[in-house]
Symmetry: C2
Subunit: 250 residues, 2 copies
């Protein structure tokens, strides 16, 4: 019986929600195929799953296809970022040591993903399929509320989580080792720093564990450090995180 093989199915050229999955693979040292970034017509695999005739319909990418998982070699297909993260976290040792750790890691990762979604909605508050320019007035209002009310609420929460987890010494949200909650929150912070540089600069000092211990340490983790310095890491551009200076603190 061979080892499981992993194929990530996500849009090419942007970090997007696929990046949460890529970070887990890299942190665990697990090889994977990033189909759309590695194969010229990789996007066809996604379109097939989204097609009305798919026998395994997914709502949206990312999806993960795992083969060689059991002796019958039935491939397993998972979609929705939190589902993929909890599955992979378990399979690759980044999901916690017991039920309590697993529950906290999953819950904190979901909270970081909520922050990710709210960051997306700052530039698309009305219609996700329309252009930013068509909803710019509303985006200005949404971004102001996000910066003034939501960012401090989320940052304050994660600061408290880091403080309450003494074993983590500010470096891990749960327990004493890296989990997929850490990589997920780290990527969201990194996206916020790209999208709202002035807002983050102004707020960092209020959350010392988050920005002096957690944020600098996660990216030094073996596997992540090499990946983040490589060309495999897609730069932020016009995905979930976008840098529109007018949406940042003025």
């Amino acid at each position: 019986m061979s080892s499981p093989t992993y194929e990530l199915l996500y849009w090419p050229g942007i970090p997007g929600r696929g990046e949460f999955i890529r970070l887990v693979f890299n942190a665990a040292g697990q090889a994977y195929k990033d189909v759309c970034n590695e194969e010229e017509d990789g996007i066809k695999s996604i379109l097939a799953l989204l097609s009305p005739s798919s026998t395994t319909p997914i709502f949206a990418p990312p999806a993960l296809r795992i083969t060689h998982i059991d002796k019958n070699n039935t491939p397993l297909l998972i979609y929705q970022t939190p589902s993929i993260l909890s599955y992979l976290g378990d399979a690759l040792g980044l999901a916690g040591a017991d039920n309590a750790e697993k529950a906290w890691i999953q819950s904190h990762a979901l909270t970081a993903l909520d922050l990710n979604n709210e960051a997306h909605d700052t530039h698309h508050p009305i219609a996700s399929a329309k252009y930013y320019e068509e909803q710019k007035d509303e985006a200005l209002k949404k971004a102001q509320d996000f910066r003034e009310a939501r960012v401090p609420k989320f940052f304050g929460f994660f600061e408290r989580v880091l403080k309450a987890n003494e074993e983590g010494k500010g470096r891990f949200l749960v327990g004493g080792k890296l989990s997929y909650a850490d990589t997920t929150l780290w990527h969201v912070l990194s996206g916020l720093e790209f999208a709202f540089p002035k807002e983050l600069e102004a707020r960092k000092k209020d959350y010392p564990l988050l920005f002096e211990a957690f944020y600098p340490s996660v990216k030094e983790h073996s596997g992540l450090k090499e990946y983040l310095a490589s060309e495999k890491r897609q730069p932020f551009s016009n995905g979930v995180f976008r840098h529109y200076p007018e949406l940042d603190r003025q």
Copy 2:
């Protein structure tokens, strides 16, 4: 060793995100305490978890506290609706029979919860902590996009899922028995029918499996039928789902 006991911690008086958890308990025939609806000062339990001094900080309710879970009797606390659902689904037999079913049930439940969140955002597109009346202009635009673009996208997807799952005969999203994905989607459909009655009436005929097989059958399930007819079920009012006639189809 006694059986686990379950305490749901959620705001009183509304279905809200707590309802997804209540439906799982009732579908499984599992007793639970709905703390804020059953105890006069139950809300203090939530405020303690949200307080800056909490040693187990949660970002927001719902949370679930489980005691008598192991021989050390260490209580387990979980927050975030999808985390609670996947834990309870496993514990109470509503999460699927194998890895593939578990993955699909979790992913489809997350997709139904995304629809739930988008329904909330129709009346609060700019700032979740401000009044509807302060963001009514934006709500009119957001609700229009939700009704015209998002609702058919989600309904079309779930119709395809029901069609692809032949074993479910239109009654179950995954496999041949009820799962927490079914109860979760059912509650969202029920909330949409409350909030957007004209829109749903106009669209139902396009999704026959969803509205002629799935939606009427889930509420007849043993456990759910009794709960839904009881006074324990909180009516929709001013929570996630709100009936503002101006946001419905005109």
